[in-house]
């Protein structure tokens, strides 16, 4: 686990806490984890993530790892990918999974919803062009079914096609035979998952106390 590092100075934590909304204890725990993952280096790289054994059996592992290195998730309106991330960026990405607090106005809830859906959208839209094309969506479904030893690409294709049809019909209503639906834009994505209640689903529990981690 390494030598007991002195906790970073409070002002640093305060900045991070303001930016991401985590509490000091949570930031401390996550910092510890960051150092564990990066073997006490100041930055994390992709191979550090790939080394997590539990992640190995996750079908969408590649996309999850990519999401950490995607500038669009750093809330700074940048684009593109990076090769290594610091603790601050790690924390910002993690903050997408914070649950909304009890006393929030409807607007705040709505903006949190948008944020989480934006994260998902970025995960699907791998080429950064602002739309999820049929190819990209097919890729998503294929990845989902990849670990399950599925009936092959054929089914994934059909499922993705049916899903795309559904999006198109929800967003566009009626289309002429020669119109072409370019892909799912973010607005369509919002409309699609309107009833999904993502603000209550896309959360994990961030602990205030450090539990001994068994995964390396």
């Amino acid at each position: 686990m390494g030598a007991l590092q002195s906790a970073p100075a409070q002002p640093e934590y305060r900045d991070l806490a303001d930016k991401t909304g985590f509490s000091y204890e949570q930031i401390g725990v996550l910092h510890k984890r960051f150092k564990q993952l990066s073997h006490n280096e100041p930055t994390l790289r992709r191979d550090h993530f790939s080394a997590i054994p539990d992640l190995a059996c996750n079908p969408i592992r590649a996309q999850i790892i990519e999401a950490f290195f995607d500038r669009r998730n750093y809330r700074q309106n940048n684009e593109g990918k990076v090769e290594e991330i610091s603790f601050e960026e790690f924390l910002v990405v993690m903050s997408h999974f914070r649950p909304p607090s009890m006393n929030m106005t409807d607007e705040q809830r709505e903006s949190i919803r948008k944020e989480k859906l934006r994260f998902l959208f970025n995960m699907h839209d791998t080429d950064n062009d602002g739309t999820i094309t049929l190819q990209e969506y097919r890729h998503v479904v294929e990845e989902l079914l990849s670990r399950s030893g599925a009936l092959g690409k054929e089914t994934a294709k059909s499922i993705a096609d049916a899903a795309m049809l559904e999006v198109a019909s929800i967003s566009m209503g009626h289309m002429e035979p020669d119109e072409f639906y370019e892909g799912i834009t973010f607005e369509h994505f919002l409309k699609l998952l309107k009833g999904f209640e993502i603000e209550s689903k896309m959360n994990i529990r961030f602990l205030n106390m450090d539990t001994t981690t068994l995964c390396k």
């Binding site: 996550l30 539990d54 079908p59 998902l120 009626h174 009833g195 994990i204």
Partner: protein, 735 residues
């Protein structure tokens, strides 16, 4: 006028019931004294030669089943009747109306025959026959995802909440009884605690009946409902505990400790028994592919056996039943045929509906049957204390629970949970099982009052309150494939993030359980290839099946099926100009020809006769099950076909089965089958149901007619132009 019909019905029923009783007593007399009268008869017979009885009346013979059927019929007619009067049924929940009917019937029977034993809600009858169908229906169709996500909260409410209620009510009532003015000094502590434990439990039947009609959101529904199911263990333990103690007289610490131990034994034992029966049931369903007709019976019988076995050991029968249904369901559903699934669903709904109706009516009837020693203080205080303790319990528990929940419960949620704590027939039946002592009648009266209060007052007012507080309603779920994809995606995403964070949370364990399930359990309990089918694909198949059936059903209906969306595959496929097919124009006469042809074929298939055998299920293309492998292949094929209908790619690499329909100059249609595909072969062997929809298409270059599912509307053809090529067609019966 309608009310008049009802009264006639009621009177008719009542008169038959009491007449039955008279005749019964009458024929009993004659039956009982044959011997001494024999000589009398003989002498009589010599005097009057009895004519041969052309028409005789022997009601005794069929008395019991007749009465039972009559009761059930009455209950169901009442249920029907309520919906004829829309205004009333909108305001008053059905359960209240049924209780009122029960009161009326009981009153009328009592008026007719003063000392008729109108004890209908016999406890044994209730617990062994009326309650299990409702619980099985609830447990089998329990929505697992919200249930497991909120399991901690539900358990806290069920266990801690019920304990709190029981003790608070018991102790308060004891305190009240000690007051001189009430004149109830004989009531001892244990009796009061027993009373408290009976009246504290939230009743699943009442909750179901009321919540079914108000359609609140899933979270609240599962909280209250889950609590009502899981508190059975607590109720059982407390009930037996206090009954034992009141026999023994003194309570030691060891006894209290044993009580706690017995709680764990009762609940975990019940769950274990249920799980064992569930696994056996799932395993049995693996082999039922050759006798589909009896598949539903296995589900029902194994579950009922689980219930009864748990009751044998005084474990919690309700928890056993639920565990059995929950464990059995995913495996059984993968194994059984679609028809059996529908059968199970409808039988369970039917039985539980009948049970529920009967329970409420009998509750009303039994109320009238009891003598009611009325003690204002006791009864009123009971009602008030019940309400107060419920509110206090919910509020304080929520305060603690919210510290551990990700999605907190708001004040509105707490109010609904507290207000939805209805008491029902279980409390009444348990009260009935009390040993006969002086307090029993008073307790029963109080219990009935509480039940009436909660069902009538709270049941009636909860709907306007829900509207007033703008509580979130249940969202209409349309089975969207996108939502399913994202549900799965989120599951994996959150598991991954938890792994990255390094703590083993809810998602991690769920994922581990799923993998264990897939790797070991499914292989044992699911037949053939289905064991490896991932959930997304099963969901997709189900959806396609549903849409296909909708298509078939609406083939003869007037309105368009909803899957014929105005958006089609060619709208989302990237354009490939080379492969685009020109949509030809057909002359009007050709259109007429085509349509007439289709119509003719459709009618022809309807006239096909079938030989009838009682034990055969109609073979239909959705599940021809000669062999499992074929079934699976057929499913995939079917799904592919359907998906082609929905999602035909513009480029045709996979050749559709070729069944060409060529139009000659006359009205003759030649069909020739030049494919060696399995579909072609299957065409000969599959009998088709009469309202099968034909999807005709062909790929010839000559006459590029297109035909749509046989639908007799004029604009159908126009719409078909907007749709893409329907793709491989279904076989028709012209082979």
């Amino acid at each position: 006028m309608r009310l008049g019909c009802w009264c006639v019905l009621l009177l008719l029923f009542v008169s038959v019931a009491s007449a039955g009783r008279d005749v019964d007593s009458g024929s009993n007399d004659t039956g009982r004294n044959p011997a001494p009268e024999d000589s009398h008869h003989q002498t009589n017979s010599t005097h009057h030669k009895k004519a041969f009885p052309v028409l005789s009346f022997n009601f005794d013979h069929v008395r019991k089943p007749f009465e039972i059927s009559l009761w059930i019929l009455l209950a169901l007619l009442m249920k029907l009747g309520f919906h004829i009067i829309p205004r009333v049924s909108h305001v008053v929940p059905e359960s209240c109306l049924l209780i009122v009917v029960g009161l009326l019937v009981g009153g009328i029977i009592k008026a007719f025959d003063e000392d008729a034993p109108v004890q209908m809600l016999d406890s044994k009858f209730f617990f062994l026959y009326l309650l299990p169908p409702i619980i099985l229906d609830a447990g089998y169709f329990l929505p697992m995802r919200p249930f497991t996500e909120n399991l901690g909260t539900i358990l806290v409410f069920a266990v801690v909440g019920t304990l709190w209620n029981a003790f608070f009510i018991g102790l308060t009532m004891y305190g009240v009884c000690q007051i001189e003015a009430v004149k109830l000094g004989r009531v001892d502590l244990l009796s009061c605690l027993l009373f408290g434990s009976i009246v504290s439990a939230v009743d699943p039947v009442a909750v179901l009946a009321v919540f079914e009609e108000i359609h609140i959101n899933e979270l609240l529904h599962i909280l209250v409902f889950g609590e009502s199911l899981l508190n059975d263990a607590v109720t059982v333990v407390l009930y037996h505990l206090f009954t034992e103690f009141s026999h023994k007289g003194t309570v030691t610490v060891a006894d209290a400790f044993l009580g706690v131990v017995s709680f764990f034994v009762v609940s975990l034992g019940g769950i274990l028994i249920g799980a064992i029966y569930g696994i056996i049931g799932a395993f049995t369903s693996r082999f039922t592919s050759h006798s589909r007709v009896i598949e539903p019976l296995f589900v029902f019988l194994y579950s009922y056996m689980a219930y009864l076995s748990a009751e044998v050991f005084h474990l919690s029968g309700i928890m056993s039943l639920i565990a059995c249904g929950v464990v059995m369901r995913p495996y059984v559903e993968a194994n059984i045929s679609h028809k059996s699934y529908t059968t199970i669903k409808y039988f369970l709904k039917m039985w539980s509906s009948v049970s529920e109706t009967l329970i409420f009516i009998f509750l009303g009837v039994s109320t009238v049957a009891q003598p009611h020693p009325w003690n204002w203080t006791f009864v009123v205080v009971t009602v008030v204390v019940c309400f107060v303790s419920r509110v206090l319990g919910v509020v304080s528990l929520t305060y603690i629970i919210n510290k551990f929940r990700i999605v907190k419960l708001t004040k509105k949620d707490q109010f609904i949970v507290a207000y939805g704590g209805l008491r029902g027939a279980i409390a009444f039946s348990l009260g009935f099982l009390l040993p006969d002592n002086e307090m029993k009648q008073l307790f029963l009266t109080a219990i009935i009052t509480v039940i009436f209060y909660t069902v009538f007052v709270q049941g009636m007012t909860i709907r306007p309150l829900v509207e007033l507080l703008a509580v979130k309603k249940k969202k209409e779920s349309k089975g969207s494939i996108n939502e399913e994809i994202h549900t799965q995606f989120l599951d994996h995403l959150l598991t991954g993030i938890e792994d990255i964070c390094g703590h083993y949370g809810h998602h991690h364990w769920k994922d581990k359980l799923n993998r264990f399930n897939k790797a070991y359990v499914k292989k044992w309990l699911i037949t053939g290839e289905r064991s490896t089918e991932p959930q997304l694909i099963s969901f997709y198949n189900k959806m396609e099946m549903k849409q296909a059936m909708m298509l078939v059903e609406s083939g003869s209906a007037a309105k368009l099926p909803t899957i014929m969306t105005p958006v089609s595959m060619q709208n989302i496929q990237p354009k490939e100009p080379l492969k685009r097919r020109a949509i030809p124009s057909i002359s009007k006469s050709r259109e007429q020809e085509i349509r007439k042809m289709l119509r003719g074929n459709l009618q022809k298939t309807r006239q096909r006769l079938r030989s009838y055998s009682r034990h055969d299920l109609m073979v239909d293309p959705f599940e021809e099950d000669v062999s499992e492998v074929r079934l699976r292949k057929q499913r995939v094929e079917m799904e592919r076909r359907m998906s082609h209908y929905l999602t035909v790619p513009a480029n045709r690499q996979e050749t559709p089965p070729v069944r060409k329909v060529a139009f000659e100059s006359e009205h003759q249609v030649y069909t020739y089958d030049d494919s060696e595909s399995p579909k072609g072969r299957r065409a000969q062997t599959n009998p088709r149901p009469p309202d099968e929809v034909h999807l005709l298409s062909e790929s010839s270059t000559r006459t590029n007619q297109r035909a749509t599912p046989a639908d007799e509307q004029d604009d159908q053809l126009k719409l078909s132009r907007c749709l893409s090529d329907p793709g491989p067609k279904k076989d028709d019966d012209e082979s």
